[in-house]
Every structure is written in structure tokens, then in C-alpha cells.
Subunit: 115 residues, 2 copies
DNA sequence: CGCATACTCAACCTAGTAGTTAATCAACTA
DNA sequence: TAGTTGATTAACTACTAGGTTGAGTATGCG
């Protein structure tokens, strides 16, 4: 598996179950059982998903007696948006410049239209 | 494979090779050979990566004689950031409220500290 | 036409993922 | 101490991802 931070983050986000878990955690910390409850899936499967999220740094887990409360961590999300924004902006700027070029050409052509 | 739009997008972004390809395309359109050039990997492997990116809607491909120029499409990136932002904001707001609660409690305690 | 270039498709291999059930660990509770 | 609850670990299955090589397709050019 590819294990650089950004790849771990996007891999973790690539599964709908894991995204739903994060969505739930955005509302507040929760235990494994609470997180598993909405899904038609074994507790062990959820436990595995949590491991993926933990490895990506998207959640941290405490210990409260026999419970393992999960907490959402947003730092990796920040890095993910930063990466996306960077290239989205470059692409947008490039299109803007292209647009300006086209307009410049159109203006020049108009200027020559007087004969 | 999970094939909803968001999963396709994040899956596509989860590979460093594919992110590098997108980074390259942010600077302008390119052919398959041009995209493959920096990588120590067969052209066929790159072709597969491009298929993944295309399926996610992150690139579109034209035809110019025997070349298949690739173009970056940013719409799926917008959706991806929207998703991330949504939950990042919910989490931040929750922490802000929590912070206010703590401050309120601290103020109350201070008020009772006069005996 | 014959051949080079640009690329895709098909078959295969290896490793990893997502799920299962069964067993185990850890902590509270009667 | 025995039993219960919460959660992890282990072993297994089925499938997918990412890479390879080799053959095939499409276009341009002499």
C-alpha cells in the first residue's frame, strides 16, 4: 500500500462507510458500538474501518473503561483541501489567461474589420 | 469497487502517480506519452491510471490524429472540497461551542471564588 | 503499401482490501 | 470469582488495484 500522508487520507475518504463514520464524528465523539449501529455490517468490519481512519490521522481514540471513544481530527482534512485547492487554482488561473488571450484576439480582429 | 462519484474522486486522488499526473495537467493539456515520461513505469500502467482519472471525471480526453490529449476537469475537485469543508466546519463549530462552554464555566467559577 | 508512432486491450501476477466468523483480551458488575 | 459488555485479533474468502509483457488498433508518412 502507498503510505504517504496524502495517499492515506484520500484512501480513507474513498469509502462511503468511512465517510459516514467521519460525518457522525463531526457531531461529537462516539464509541465503536455507537458508530457501528447504523450499518448493516459486523462490529469487526467497523473496527477495521476505524483502523484505516486512525492510520490516516483522521481520528484519535481514547480509553474510558471498556469503551474506546473516537474523536475526529481535522488536520489531515486541511492538508487534503490544501492539495486540491492548489491545483484547482492553477487550472483556473490558466483558463482565465486563456480567456483573456481569446478576448485580445477578438478585439484585434474587430479592429481590422473596418474595410 | 465502490462507484459513487465522491468515492471515485477520492480513490483517484489516493495514488501519488495520479496526483502527479493531475499536477502536470494543471499546467496545461498533455498527451499520454508526455504524461508518462517522468515515471519509471510502462506506458500501459499510465494508461490505466488515466482511465481511473477519466472514470472519476477528473480528466477528459480528446483525439488529435494518433494523440489522445488529456485535459484536467475541476468539477469533481469542487465536490470533494465541498464534502471535506462541510464536516471540517461542523467539527470546528462544535469545538468553538465547547470552548465557549468552558469559558462560561470558568467565569462562573471565578464569580464563586470570592469567599 | 509498408512502416513508425501513439496508444489501448488482454492476460497474467502479486499484494492489498473489505467482509465474514471464531477466539481472545480488557474492564466493569453481581 | 464468574459472567457480561465492549472491542480487538486472527484466520479465512472473494474481489480489486497496480504493475508487468505481448499483441492489436489507429493514424500519419515515405
Amino acid at each position: 500500500m502507498v503510505d504517504d500522508q496524502l495517499s492515506l487520507t484520500f484512501t480513507a475518504l474513498a469509502d462511503p462507510t468511512r465517510r459516514a463514520i467521519l460525518a457522525r464524528l463531526a457531531d461529537g465523539d462516539a464509541t465503536v458500538n455507537e458508530l457501528a449501529e447504523p450499518f448493516d455490517m459486523s462490529l469487526q468490519a467497523i473496527s477495521k474501518h476505524l483502523k484505516v481512519l486512525e492510520r490516516a490521522g483522521l481520528i484519535t481514540r481514547g480509553r474510558d473503561a471498556q469503551w474506546r471513544p473516537c474523536r475526529l481530527e481535522t488536520a489531515p482534512l486541511d492538508d487534503a483541501t490544501d492539495w486540491i485547492e492548489q491545483y484547482r487554482n492553477i487550472a483556473r488561473d490558466r483558463l482565465d489567461r486563456l480567456d483573456q488571450e481569446i478576448q485580445k484576439i477578438q478585439r484585434t480582429r474587430k479592429g481590422n474589420d473596418h474595410e
